[in-house]
Symmetry: D4
Subunit: 251 residues, 8 copies
């Protein structure tokens, strides 16, 4: 019984007089989040924001990740784990055999009732170079599990700008655009000047030396001379996918 | 005759056979931008993106700012000048007497045909402290001149969080939320966790010492534990207003 | 015979005339610290400040750590080793079989005469996310071995602020509050605005990208808009536990 | 009628039946804070935390500061304005003639009913050099207006450490110690190793070159090899005074 | 008599037997540089490298600048002073009435025998925005006084990339390209991908907030994904002009 | 059939009437770049710029690198892979047995038709210390595969400056000079003051502590007091070799 | 009566029986330093270290500086004030008419009994450029007032290295060498490789852009590839002069 | 035959007429350094500066280190290798069986004719904590191989300052003092204020979090409020030992 079904049953019981008001409130409260001691699983937020519950796996122990995802799967249909290494996935798979792992993007998917997608609006994920793919896939997969259609436009960095122009219609027709780029991150500014839709820029740590682990792309995107660009953390493909999804679902 | 009217007249002439195709193309191209030598005024972008032409005044001379705005006013109804000091406004006012100056936010407005506003959707501009007002007003005024209704929620920083909760409905009912905060910028994370709409975060340079001219708020917002937050440059109220406007106009 | 008993015996001998003044002074001085060559063990400081002797294990060799802790155990009842890896604990355990290891927090405990605890005053250790647990446990365990009662309030980061409010009474009734948070560290400001007690903030290196190994949380906490917050080093759970213990023992 | 008297009158009216419950609640709520539009004055927090209302003046206009302080003076006996320049004080003085200005520390005081002081416990403010005086005075004056006795120990930096040892008893007998130092900030570590009481360290921007506006002292204090030291923002004398006051009032 | 004429006369005297070898050597050595005490004017380097002697005026006193330029004018035909404010120019003009001042670029010119220019090869100075003009003019004027033809392509930043493409032929036909840009400096990467000639990139401090006085553009340009781009210091228009001139004179 | 031959055949077919204009254009376009999905191989750029196609291997998977280089080898004679580890080379070698690996410089070479070299002009690669050799070899080998003669002048750092002067003629006679140095990078300034040719400076990450992974050399070179020095990214031997090659091929 | 004479008189009185032991000790202690409240003047340190008492004037008020220097002049023959602006000197001159001001170096001198100088050993102050003169003069003047002979070697930066070699004998014969340089600070490494004596390096803030107020020179000098170089703070000419003086007085 | 013997033999041959002037010069030049291609071994510098030839091993290959040290051992009696790992030592030991390895300090010693030591002057190496020992041993061993007597004063950090005072005589009687400290590096300032001899400060990377790999100690030492302190690179024990040795040998 998922969280939503649980809540409905509760309300019905109260309406039917099976439980009194005080009990109903207590149960409602208990349903709100599960306290595992080391973690408080916030079911209500997920419901309220209409997207799968998300688990940030980095810094958690293998055991914690498995316990959290197992518990979540009892009340949610779709779950996403981010920044998970192979060991954590192995532990999750033991308790949730239908979990799927996207190795390069370090995502764990449990997707039992895929969210419906509006096939008329899509998010374009535009990527500077092949080395940025793990992050752009993190963004694209996140957007997809949250119920969005995604078009991938990969390896169109500004060093060979005709590759970008060849794909311009695909980018301009998108409802929201995610730009993923490392090194100097110039792609965000160029795309930002070409489209009329919101651009979510993801700086990546791709590069070396004076890129300072993504600082160069981050500063480049924050200082974009194109208006209509907003930035998420370095290598935060998930955050960009989530942000784009929120915007894409607006009516 | 504004840029739009100019284009229409041109197309009419061609349809009527007054000018031939070659001439029409040349004129269209000439209309595209005005080359002042030191600046190329990009009329087409403004038209395409449906918002007033914007002039970044910092680093330009007084004479350049006045010349650019004067020229723009010949082809556009609404113009915005950002980061303008009083001297630059004085020079603009000489050539454009209907220009208006918002001193604290350093904005110059020429607004001859205000854009229509959808009064059912508004952008909330949520601000941590009174010292952040110049930047939040820059965001709010930018959003307004670009045709958006704006609700201001000021001085609701997290140090006294009940002030924020008193305004929660107003914030949650917004279509897009701009959060403006200096110091540690925590307000962005708190608001991001409370709303289901996109949050555009503007770090400000308010504070001192280890705020490092806004770095603390910038890093805080980039590392927000709440998904659904994207960030613009430090003190970039204009950029946030512009980004929120793009999103707010999406249908 | 512990350091304290040693000192008392010495004073008795002098009073009884068994030793003369010069000998007493020499012995007192010798008791003050033990010089191992590579380390000078400061017994007096420990006595003076009323808490177990603490060994910072990082950067010391396995042999040095074992030798220091063995020597300390000859004159102290309670010893704490911080930032110790498993190899160092293994070496310590050989010479001190009753040593206990808290793996995630990398603490070594020797606790032969636990300090008495005031059960009416407690320190609350409030933690943003599960990934911060190693550091918050370091703080909590440090406070406990130093003779304090501790209440743990875990996974109450600001992204889901109702989890925090559910625990507000527990936090407000604490005598001292430790806040442990990574990423943007906003929890410190929010808690600081809600309580009337001193808040010790511990930034953690949890996060990635523009968190710059904890810099984002550090700057966030230093710039907290809430007064009554003071900060220790990144990931310094021990320092926070120690500081909170000092304050909690004040009368 | 101050805030406290106002609340009491309200409760009396309700008890006497002059007003009904609904009205009482509304009035209570209204009393909670005053909304000036550009600022929300939080009376309750002040009451709850038992110290004068504090106004951070930097970044606010002269008019805003005067309006806020005037309003606060209607409901509070004691008010503190921090980081105020002479112009702002002049404006405040017009509306509050009994306001007092501490020029070097940039503090504005309105102190109508000085808080009682426990003359058995004092806060020691220990300062490295004469150039740090504006910040240490900010700390000391803040602590005093918040009802604490303060002992000033000035110009005892570690370059001439016998000056510090001459004052050691005064420092060791303090209930709480504030250490104010610029340059390398070593005084915090030395004092931290000598006392058994909590040490609040304030890095100052005193110095030049590689002090990077206080970064050197800040990092030095955060990395203090002495436990029992917690740090506030660079030049944040107010924050240290406030933190020390909270601790000093604990029983 | 200029430095070159002086050397020739010396050699002639020696050939004619008017002076002996030892005297010739001594005079040659003396001619090499002039020692003013506070400065050693290096005539030989100028001759060897074939460009006007250059004086970096910042940090020198008004008197020093005037004395140096006056002395240089006795042995050189063309002199360049960089980063000179109006006061320094005024002092120079008193002793060298034919000196010319380019105010925005802070250059002082003494150009008595302009160097010949190859009119078939030119340096393109491509600039992102009008606010970058002081620096791009510094580059262009430096290149011109060093004997190069220069084409200016101004205000073609990537936010409106069609402005750049309109000028592409002019840029592609240049022998060397200088790209001047602030903010994120993306123009360097875009141009670098479009041309086959060496690109000298000049990051400017134009922008605010997270541009950190030009750091964003600097890092962006250093991390350019386009090969064939090399970078000079922030705002170093002179260095770029000088570098481009060296390359442009190669055969 | 290489890219060039392919293009020629296409043009011939069209001239001969074997294919019509539309087909020719489509084929031309298809020849322009190969879209592998995860990468778009830009054949035209390579042709246009007259140097081997270059693959940046870092951040790409082993499979991606092998696939890209295999595909490129079908249309190009000479290919360069940079920053490749041994695993990636092993995979490339399987599909391209004639690939050669320069282990220390992490370069993969496929060189089937070496480009002709002008033996009268050479690039000097001047290196401060033996530890900088991997980077200076990256620069030298890059320049060689791009058709340049290279002279290596190694271990001539400024700590023993007579070693540099012994090689001065070799350096001064070069057409272009690359200076590779870590630590403080002073060699670039010294060489820049001695030669009349363009100097491309490569800061390396050689050093420790306050070199901050190459920052010290980078800043040193950017602030060189010698004009005629331009800088590439830290450890970017490839970029320097490429830049020098462009300049060296200019006529 | 100076400090030294005072002490002698005291000892004589005690020997003669005029004062008893207790009084002697009290007087000795009182002589040790003067407590002005805001400053503790440490006479003993000055005596012990054999150099004039030094007052760091920055951050002190005009009144404090004058009071301190006046008091010091009562017990010391030679006094040095560093980083003093003209206003502070004016105030000092009122109370000490024989005070002398070195404007560019911002030093105040009171030199009543110049220290004897060893004319066989000198300190060489070697300076890169004319813009570094204020700092190198601070170093040279400091060394002179502390009783050292100084040779100035100015404007010998590495961009024209023959100027340095012309002065090599003068530098090599020095007993201690101070190198003052801004920008990339390469001069320290070059000199360090040429001399056998200790080199004290002073980075200056001369330069702009990526010099980051002296950081480039500081890092350059700290990473010097020449052993035998130690570094003081940016622009700390005083510190270098003081350090060189200590070494120069060693026998 | 060592370098010195070699030179003497050469001069004798010339005096005896066995070789002519030209041959003598050529041989002298050849003796000056050995060119291994990847390295130029500078024999003359070593001779001139009177200390063993030093090889910086980091960044060099195992083979290069072994070849360089083998070659050096043919002309020098004493050789020092710094920052060498165990693999490099193993390779050296194969060709130089009498080489000795100091593992913690990563030094390789070949010491065939130990330099004489002045047993009346010693260098004190004062160390804050046991974790700093690898660096302080690097300094002490370097000073010893260069012919100095060394006194080690370990684990006397300022957190327990009485440990330092117990050793004060030993420190004050030193001719030169090296202070090694990590974390906040306060020991340098405290020692600097207590001694009259030059203090060479070595910041170490000991610590974590906001120590930023030694930056905190580095900045602390550069900003020391004690004059007479100069600083070397982070973890540069060798540099400090070398600098102290130069000073200690001065007469």
């Amino acid at each position: 019984m998922t969280y939503e079904e649980n809540l409905l049953a509760l309300l019905e019981s109260y309406k039917a007089g099976t439980i009194d008001a005080k009990t109903a409130l207590e149960k409602l409260h208990a349903a709100d989040y599960t306290d595992l001691g080391f973690a408080k699983l916030d079911h209500n937020r997920s419901l309220r924001q209409g997207f799968p519950e998300v688990v940030y796996c980095e810094g958690k122990t293998v055991e914690q990740v498995a316990a959290i995802m197992e518990k979540l799967a009892q009340v949610h249909n779709n779950i996403l784990g981010t920044r998970a290494d192979a060991d954590k996935f192995a532990a999750v798979q033991k308790v949730l055999p239908d979990a799927v792992y996207h190795k390069n993007s370090r995502l764990i998917f449990v997707e039992r009732k895929p969210l419906p997608k509006d096939d008329k609006r899509y998010i374009a994920v535009v990527t500077a170079g092949t080395s940025d793919l793990p992050i752009s896939e993190e963004a694209a997969l996140t957007a997809e599990i949250m119920g969005n259609q995604v078009e991938r436009v990969y390896d169109v960095g500004v060093a060979g700008i005709h590759r970008l122009f060849d794909k311009l219609d695909l980018i301009r027709n998108a409802n929201v655009v995610i730009v993923v780029a490392g090194m100097e991150g110039a792609l965000a500014s160029v795309v930002g000047g070409l489209v009329e839709r919101p651009v979510i820029a993801v700086p990546t740590s791709v590069g070396y030396g004076a890129n300072f682990q993504g600082l160069s792309a981050l500063l480049g995107m924050l200082n974009s001379c194109s208006a209509g660009v907003a930035v998420v953390n370095i290598d935060n493909g998930f955050g960009a996918g989530r942000m784009a999804s929120i915007i894409n679902h607006m009516r």
